[in-house]
Each structure stands twice: as structure tokens, then as C-alpha cells.
Amino acid sequence: MHIFFNKHYCVCEKCENKLHPLFLKFRIGNIDALALYKYDEEIRTLLYQLKGCYDIELAEVFLDRFKDELHLLYHDYYLIPAPSSKSDDEEREFNHVQVIFKCLNLPMLPIIEKAFDYKQVELNAKARKGAIRSLKLNSKKSLYGKKILIIDDVYTTGATVLGMIELIKSLRPKKIKVLVMSKTYLK
């Protein structure tokens, strides 16, 4: 993993082969969504090192290969990152979703936050649906005429993204799309 550090070539060939990009297209209601990876063991360990061990240098690893393409694909979109708990962000001194998608070079609007802290991992699908009610907007500024891209690191039940879509729809944007870094694979 040390070779992640080569500035010209962020991920070496050997490590690159460990990641398996999927480019899975799926729909959430009537909204187009795209997942880049399957949430497998490799992604899990990398994400853990980034989120749990605060290893910010790993942030570029996930999107480095596709950042130019993704930039073109979503060139007129505004990014809205999924919220994470404030206390975690303060402790690790960065927001992992924001740093992962920073390399797309698109304007970021972190307008959604959690009203109170909870850990999604500890909840089951039903409880997650309840917990999304705690999401709230921190600005009522209209998104009228803007194209919005919702971004998240892991898509499991879709509860967060659905909750975000509901909130963002009330601000009347022109279009909403979803881009997630990885998606758990449910049989």
C-alpha cells in the first residue's frame, strides 16, 4: 500500500488490481444512480483505514482512476455529500465523503446534516428508515435550476440516500442523480 504515494500515479498496478470497479447502474425510485465498486473486503479495509484510522492519504485512491471521466460526466452538477456524525468528523479532522469526492473538482454543497449522532452500522434496515428522519437541511436556499449529484461512500439499504432525496426535492432542483463509491451486493 505504500506505493499509493506516488504523486504522478496514485495507485500502483498491483494495488489497482485488487480493486474491482463495477460501474453498476441502478435506480432509486425514478432517480438514476451509479455505484463504482462492489463493497467487498478490499474496499472495506481501505475505508476502515480512512475512516477509522484517519488515514487521509487514502482518500484519492478510490476515484483516482475515473476522476477525469466522472468530472466530464457530471460537469454541471453540484455535489451534496451524505452527512456523517459531527463528533466523528471533528475527531478525524475531515469528512471522509467530502475528501473522497474532492478530486472530481466540482462545487460541493454540504447542506445536509444529522440532527443527532447515531451510527448506521448498529441499526437494521427498519431502524435506518426511522433514523433518516433525523436528517435536516442547514440552509433553506433554493436549488432551483441546479443539477444535484448526491454522493456517498457506501450504499446499503438506501435509507440515507432516500432521505436526502426527499429533503432535496423540497428545494426544487432541476435534476437529481446519485453517485456512490460502493454498493453492498444483496442477493
Binding site: H2, F5, C53, Y54, E57
Partner: protein, 390 residues
Amino acid sequence: MGAFSFICPICGNSDENTIGKRNGKYYCRKCISFRGQEAASTEEQEKDVVWNLNYELTEEQARLSEDLLSNYQKRINSLVYAVCGSGKTEITLRVIAYALSKGKKVGFTVPRRDVIIELCDRFRNIFSKNTVALVYGGNSKILTADLICCTTHQLYRYPRYFDLLIIDEIDAFPFQDNEVLNTFFRRSVKGNYIMLSATPSRNFIDAFKKEGGHVLELFSRFHRYPLPVPEVFVLPKIIQKIKCYRLIKEYLKNGKFIFVFTPTIKICEELFDSLNFFIRGGNYVHSKRKNRERIIKDFKDKKIKYLITTAVLERGVTIKGLQVIVFQANHNIYSSDSLIQIAGRVGRKKEEPEGKVIFLTNENNVEIEKCIRTIEGANKNLQNLFKTHT
């Protein structure tokens, strides 16, 4: 990044490639996964120590444990060179008991999690009046006790802590060649350490001697037979099955017991289906098979004649008169390490020290060659040591 001088305060790393920058501050990426609560220091107290073993130590073991004790009293580090399963743990008991009774902090550490769990149980039985803490990833609530059993990864919790630290299986995978773990090991020793190993390299022994350590060898219980060198048969897949069948027939005639290692669960079941048609009385195990323990016990009780298995039985099985066949040894799940471990299943008992290891493979690959080279090297090393010793 330019010239800078950042040295990790935890692991001493100063390699530019493994140092990251977060909000303008440098941080070490090498030891980043080793963060957590450190053990609180406790005061030295003399304690009563009772240790009870159900069996007597052999003469040589007793001699070695005396040596270890006197080395510790003289503040000399020791390296015990003994083959796996020859009773290395027992000879450390005496020095552990001595250090505990003086109220020193004693630790026992192994790179493998399941090994330390098993060892900890043994220590709890032996030192029944003292507290024994078991620390490994995911089990780190209690950090201090009279005797601390931990994996080498958890040593980061104990900087300059142990008066006596015993490390087993230094040649096992995660510890060897891992600078971070080695630094943690050195960092956590305040007094002296004892290393236990089955196959230390010549270089390692020399380096250890240079540092002023004392090397102790334990050969007596082990039968002094060399490790079996695997025989390789390069065959197409279908013929491998036929060869496998013939070998099993031949071994069964001689009353031997057979392990057939297969790379995957699917291949394991397939091979069993086709072999079971011709030779009855076998069975198969893999990680998903229910009643695995019972089948292995049946095999040990000789109710089952041959066993087809995946890598689940790669480590920690000792059966008398065992022969091993590795089916599709060129499969990419086999590394040279695991092949050596598989070969090491053979001839672990004194009564039947010899056995055959056969690799059936489509092609000779690097891992197989490396495995054979390593075993041959180890045998040579062993023979040389016998010569210098006797």
C-alpha cells in the same frame, strides 16, 4: 515533499513514502492501525506463585529451563531453538514463575491469534492462583494482569513495560520481516526477552549472538529426523485424480492414514464424490462443513481412513503415521508458507517420524519450488547444527 525530518514517535519510521500529511501535520501511516488505549503501569509487588503441571519435564527440558532462569538472572537475552511441538512453552514456565514471584511484569506473545488463545488457556490452568490477561484484536478490555498473553500486534499497548517478554514463533508469518511489529517488540521490552523459534535462519542466530544473546537448543524430544521433502508429480488434472486414487490404495494397504489437501471447497467435494465411489471409509471437511470437530476426532480415533480437506487443517493437527497428498498444488491459494506447513503435518510423532508428502500439480510453479528449497535448506541447517552440537 522535500526535505523534512519527521520521525514517528511510536514506531520510529522516517520513510517519506509512508508518512502522510493531514491538515498540515505529518503522521505515520505505517503504524496507523495500531492506535488504542495503552496499558496503565502498575507497581511491583511480590506475589505467591503456584504452578502445577500434570506431567514431568524431561531431563533436557529441565536443564534448559534452568539455563533460561540463570540467563534471566544474569540479564542475558535468550533464543530457544526447538522444533514445533517439542515443548518450548514448558521450559519457559520456570522463569515465568520466578519473575512473577518477584513481582515483575511478564508477557507472552505470539503472532497468531488462535495460538495465543490456546496458550492462554494453558497458562490459566498452570498458574491457577495468578491472573492471566488475554489481549488480541477485538479483545482488549482487560490490559493488565500478573501474566499478559497478547498477540504481537497488541504490543503497541505496552511501551517499555515488560521486565520479561517471551515471544514464540518468531518465524511465523506476520512477525517476520515486519518492521513495525519488530519495533513494537523492541519498544515494549524493559528488561529481557526470550525468543522461541522452530526455524531461525543462520543469519538471525548470528545477529542474535552478536547482540550478546545466548542460544539454547532443544533437540532431545524431537526425533532428529529431517522434514520430509515433497515429491512433485506434474500431471494433467484428470490423471491427478487417478494418481490420487492409486496412492490412497497403496497407503491404505500399508495401514497409513491420509490427508488429501484440496484448494477449494468445490474441488474438495468433487474429489470426495469421485473417490468415495472406489474407496469407502473416507470423509471430507472444509470450513462450511458441520460437525467438523467430530469428523476430525473420528479421524484421530482411526474410524476414518482418509480425509479430504481444504486448508482448514493446515495448522495445528498432529496425527500419527500420516501421509499427505496435495491435490492441484499449483492453485494460487497455496503460498510456499502454507505448503511448508502442510508438509510439516507429516512425521510429527516420535513413533513414526517418517512420512511422504506428495504434490500433484499441473505445472511446477514458483511457490512449489520455493517450498522445496526452503525445506531442503532447513534440513541442511538442522544437520549442520547437529554436527556442531554433538
